[in-house]
Amino acid sequence: MSCHHCHTKVVGDYKLPPIMLLPAEDQKFMLDFVKASGSIKLMAEQMSLSYPTVRNILDSVIEKIKNLEN
């Protein structure tokens, strides 16, 4: 793991949690989802998307996490 700005490098034999392995876009979605108290309806309003579209994004993130856990 390294920082592109300060060039700090962390080297070690450890596993990152699945959420850390998700793309930045999905991590942001997860963060926003938690901040919206897990409300798909609220997320849909914030993202200007329909309820099923947001639920489909959530389903795809869940699927990615499950795959990373296996």
Binding site: S48, L49, S50, Y51, P52, T53, R55, N56, D59
Partner: protein
């Protein structure tokens, strides 16, 4: 361009239901005067009725048959916990292009069984062919909207989405025809 074929990434649920409802009311009001009957999920015929109720019942039966079979397909083939309100709303909104078909029907005359038996006696105008072709395009547009509504609401994709949609559409079409004919054409 994407929006006219798939508005459902932005609109679904109750919002789609009331917008679709407005389109349905307008379509049915025009249908009564242009004698356009939507007697099946993908059917359109010019048929004069003295009351508006056959047009209304055909429209509602067809819509609900589609909702039922798309929902049942979703229950059988996906793990997504979809909402029935999304299917109700998006499928009703998918029928919005039928408003244009109802308008085009003013240029399509009613042809009864007697006239059909001697087709050479019917005088087909250029307007008839243009309106018929335009109606066909609008019905194809409606089916494309049905498919995208199904994909978004049920969260299904790839070849599985295509064949399950075709299956649901065929079953909904048959069921709607059976219902409509058993009610109105006994």
């Amino acid at each position: 361009m994407v929006f006219i074929f798939n508005p459902f990434t932005k609109i679904a649920g109750g919002k789609a239901l009331w917008i679709g409802g407005l389109f349905a009311i307008l379509t049915l009001a025009i249908s009564y005067f242009s004698h356009s009957a939507f007697d099946g999920v993908i059917d359109f015929h010019v048929a004069p009725f003295t009351s508006i109720w056959p047009y209304v019942s055909f429209y509602i039966i067809s819509w609900l048959c589609l909702v039922l079979f798309l929902g049942l397909t979703g229950l059988l083939f996906t793990k997504t916990r979809f909402r029935w309100i999304d299917i109700l709303g998006t499928t009703l909104l998918s029928r919005a292009p039928l408003l244009l078909v109802a308008l085009a029907a003013f240029a399509i005359p009613y042809i009864d069984k007697e006239q059909l038996s001697d087709i050479t006696q019917i005088h087909f105008t250029a307007g008839f062919f243009i309106a018929s072709f335009f109606s066909l395009i609008c019905i194809i547009w409606t089916v494309a909207l049905y498919y995208n509504s199904y994909r978004v609401c049920i969260n299904i994709y790839g070849s599985k989405a295509v064949w399950t949609f075709i299956l649901a559409l065929i079953l909904a079409e048959i069921t709607s025809l059976v219902f409509i004919h058993s009610i109105h054409f006994k």
